[in-house]
């Protein structure tokens, strides 16, 4: 059994699977059930200053793809709609009952030092393990100068983080919005303000769909809709990229990261940890399937780590980061070709038509005795992988390396590159 315990910016938990700040973490009842199911920590649904906000009815939109429900998900919900005192009581109780689990409190208040000091003072005696500054939400609160309105301005991130760090010793995670051109500016600002770590990504600004009868965006509230925050499996690649950017930048490479964005299973989590995350946060998958999914997350990660010989998360954390490079350094001599396994081919023809219509016309149909088979024309195959992805049979199409494996040349020295550097 591997040791799954994690330490995110000084916040410790028995496993790296935390619930992100969202509806599943908005009261004692849910969080207790989550801990009983095995979750390593929670980030409490964002607290604000009373009076509580009010929410609309019809709050979520979803992207279903090819019969798969909730590939993407969005919401126009705001921060907690419960009175501050109720939340504080719940947080105090849960931490007392579950001392080994991480309880982090997410916060969002107007951009004044007084308000931040007020809320920090309030949560200090709950016994919570840390705070997360919500600079991420792209809807509803941002129009009031909070959430992503802060997260999109590095100077504000730095300023507010500093205010918080000046009035508390609690570990402080800064939650970042992906709705920026370069996430590194935001991460740098969080670090400069004294933040102990970053949490990302918050939701992506989105309109998930348009109701073609009402001619209004969804979710539709009395004939109107508004942009909302997009999350779920569909955003994982965006999150993974942003986490990677922070993990590999010189300025932020040692900044602890709590990764968020479409994480649905142990494999997703392992990918984020391999890209430098110290822990992960999950929301949409729980909103879809409930707390029980953590069982496979813990079990699956454990089994995989045992198989690979990793004893702790630190054994593999960040080890994929050095393999992320710039395009110009990729080896142009590396050459792969598609190989079709005749014994498992079901003759659907998707490899042919995808290559024929959309790629390099490198797969021909051979018709023999009323049957057909598909053959790769090596001369035309550029090794793009398209046929392998279009093929519905696992491992029927694989890519075989055909170059010598000893040569290396990248774009920086290529003769077609007008900016090439001359080799000596």
């Amino acid at each position: 059994m591997a040791d799954l315990s994690c330490n995110v910016a000084g916040i410790k938990a028995p496993n790296p699977f935390w619930l992100a700040s969202a509806p599943p973490t908005d009261k004692l009842y849910n969080v207790e059930r989550a801990f009983r199911a095995g979750w390593g920590g929670v980030v409490w649904k964002t607290l604000g200053i009373d009076p509580p906000i009010v929410n609309v009815s019809s709050r979520y939109g979803a992207v279903h793809y090819n019969g798969q429900r909730m590939m993407g998900f969005n919401n126009v919900e705001l921060i907690t709609d419960r009175p501050l005192e109720d939340n504080l009581q719940d947080i105090k109780k849960i931490k007392k009952d579950w001392p080994d689990r991480a309880v982090v409190v997410s916060l969002m208040v107007p951009c004044t030092e007084k308000d931040w000091q007020f809320i920090i003072n309030k949560i200090e005696d709950t016994g919570c393990d840390g705070v997360e500054l919500n600079f991420g939400c792209p809807h509803g609160m941002s129009e009031r100068g909070m959430g992503s309105a802060v997260g999109q301005v590095p100077e504000y991130i730095e300023m507010v983080t500093r205010w918080v760090k000046e009035c508390t010793d609690l570990p402080c995670l800064v939650k970042l919005t992906p709705n920026v051109a370069d996430i590194c500016h935001a991460a740098n600002a969080a670090k400069a303000g004294g933040g102990d770590g970053v949490a990302l990504i918050n939701t992506v600004n989105s309109i998930v769909s348009v109701d073609l009868d009402l001619m209004a965006p969804e979710p539709t509230i009395d004939g109107k809709g508004s942009h909302g925050g997009y999350c779920g499996p569909a955003v994982k690649p965006i999150a993974l990229h942003m986490v990677t950017e922070i993990a590999k930048a010189t300025e932020t490479k040692n900044l602890p990261i709590s990764a968020i964005g479409g994480i649905s299973n142990w494999r997703d989590a392992a990918e984020f940890i391999a890209m430098g995350a110290a822990g992960v946060q999950v929301c949409t998958a729980v909103m879809h399937y409930g707390f029980k999914i953590v069982d496979d997350m813990i079990d699956g990660l454990n089994n995989w780590m045992d198989e690979k010989g990793y004893e702790t998360l630190e054994d593999f954390r960040g080890i994929a980061v050095p393999n992320v490079t710039e395009w110009q350094f990729l080896n142009l001599k590396y050459d792969i070709k598609a190989r079709i396994d005749e014994s498992t081919c079901i003759h659907c023809g998707l490899c042919h038509i995808s290559c024929e219509d959309a790629s390099h016309q490198a797969i021909r149909i051979i018709k023999e005795n009323g049957d057909r088979r598909f053959e790769v024309i090596d001369k035309e195959c550029v090794g793009c992988n398209l046929c392998m992805f279009a093929c519905p049979v696992p491992d029927c199409i694989t890519m075989e390396r055909v170059d010598s494996g000893t040569e290396y040349q990248n774009w920086t020295t290529h003769e077609n590159n007008p900016m090439r550097v001359e080799e000596n």
Partner: protein, 445 residues
């Protein structure tokens, strides 16, 4: 003295209506979308080749997945005007679904038949039709027989601007769809609703109770019309070739199925306690299962060869078995036993294949008791349809046609079960009728 036990009302009305409800209930919209998304949208898909009417199956399925049900139905009906019935009665396991690459992959083909039903049902509910008649050609074509081949031919002729007159021997149109298919395959009067849909195009004149050779003569039709299409089906049945086959309790399955389909109260139909069905095709399966569903205690389907040689598909055989029918292979009837002029049982000889693969008796015999025996050993072309007229050339008991569906008689085309174009399937008949109409159109231009 054996007690003959044949009686009506073995089951309650509730039980009967449950037994004769839709054997394969339709997909709902959620299931349909999940199933539609299982289709890989193959290039040059093998299912299309396997469909006698060459419906563009991946395309109609994709349209279901995007919610374009109207477009989906159009893809189906433009190739097969009886796409709704075919979705219910086609042996898809040997046609489209048998060719589905997912069958090759994991024996879980896309449920094409059920998806086709989903798309066609949704369109038929709209009471619209996609089809419009071309400008009138002034040509009149006699279509003899209002079953699938005849209606398909008449519809295509109407689309092309011709005037079709359908001569139907019986009271209602739709042929075997109305009179010869098990009730649970086509509930809620679907055959007649489909006829209404087909006729909606206009330009098709219907004359029922017009039996060829009796009420109308081929000779006269050839005189009166620009072309004649024969789709008279197979009106006669094979006999077992046993002594005293005419005794009470021995029936032709097709007659009983007809009676059952036209019955308004199933509780009034007599059914034997012990039923033996002789045959190995769809009709044998239909009468065996329906007997069981009417309350027969023991139903045995006796076939002289093995399961692979049966005309009924593996799925039909399985359906019969799960409905409580015992399927007994490798037995051939040798003699009927009777008391007081009523059948009481059959003496069978056990059969086997000799080393050359020929069927032969083993010399072992089995006796099975029965209150009712059904013969379901195939149908034949009725000679009387040509009485008083010149006959077209016949080959292998069926009307001989060329690739254009032309008979040996000038101006006379034929299709459906009465020709040997392929298997005797509704879908094949629809294709025959469609192709014959196109051929007639080319010839009349």
């Amino acid at each position: 003295m054996t007690t003959i036990d044949v009686q009506a009302g073995r089951l309650s009305q509730e039980q009967l209506s449950e037994n004769f409800s839709d054997s394969h209930p339709p997909l709902n919209s959620g299931n349909a979308i999940v199933e539609a998304n299982r289709c890989y949208f193959c290039f040059d898909a093998p299912c299309i080749d396997a469909c006698p009417t060459a419906i563009d199956i991946p395309n109609f399925i994709r349209k279901i997945s995007t919610g374009n049900l109207k477009g989906s139905a159009r893809d189906i009906f433009s190739q097969n005007i009886m796409g709704g019935m075919c979705a219910r009665v086609c042996p898809t396991e040997t046609l489209c679904e048998g060719a589905c690459v997912r069958e090759t992959q994991d024996h879980q083909p896309v449920r094409i038949g059920e998806l086709q039903r989903y798309a066609t049902d949704s369109y038929l509910e709209t009471s619209e039709t996609f089809f419009e008649r071309a400008e009138s050609s002034g040509k009149k074509i006699a279509v003899v027989g209002g079953g699938p081949a005849g209606l398909s031919c008449a519809h295509r002729l109407a689309v092309l601007g011709h005037h079709a007159v359908v001569f139907e021997a019986r009271e209602k149109l739709s042929g075997l769809n109305e009179y010869g298919i098990a009730a649970y395959k086509t509930v809620n009067d679907f055959a007649q609703r489909e006829v209404d849909f087909i006729l909606k195009i206009g330009g098709i004149e219907i004359r029922t109770n017009q039996r060829l050779g009796q009420d109308v003569k081929l000779e006269d039709l050839r005189q009166e019309f620009d072309a004649v299409f024969l789709s008279v089906g197979l009106g006669d049945v094979n006999s077992l070739g046993l002594e005293s086959e005419e005794i009470a309790g021995v029936y032709d399955a097709v007659d009983t199925i007809l009676e059952l389909r036209q019955s308004v109260n199933l509780a009034e139909l007599s059914v034997g306690r012990r039923v033996i069905v002789i045959g190995g095709g769809s009709t044998a399966i239909d009468i065996a299962v329906q007997s069981k569903k009417l309350g027969a205690e023991d139903v045995t389907l006796a076939y002289r060869r093995g399961p692979e040689q049966m005309n009924a598909t593996w799925k039909e055989q399985e359906f019969a078995q799960t409905n409580g029918v015992r399927v007994k292979h490798w037995v051939a009837p040798k003699s009927l036993r009777s008391e007081n002029g009523h059948v009481t049982g059959i003496e069978f000889e056990c059969m086997e294949l000799n080393p050359e693969g020929k069927l032969r008796g083993t010399g072992e015999f089995r006796h099975m008791e029965a209150d009712v025996v059904f013969k379901a050993i195939g149908q034949l072309l009725e000679d009387s349809v040509f009485s008083g007229s010149e006959m077209p050339a016949i080959e292998g008991g069926k009307i001989n046609v060329n690739l254009e569906f032309e008979t040996s008689l000038p101006g006379v085309w034929a299709g459906g079960d009465c020709v040997g174009s392929g298997e005797d399937l509704t879908v094949q008949s629809v294709e025959d009728g469609k192709q014959a109409a196109l051929s007639i159109h080319r010839r009349l231009k």
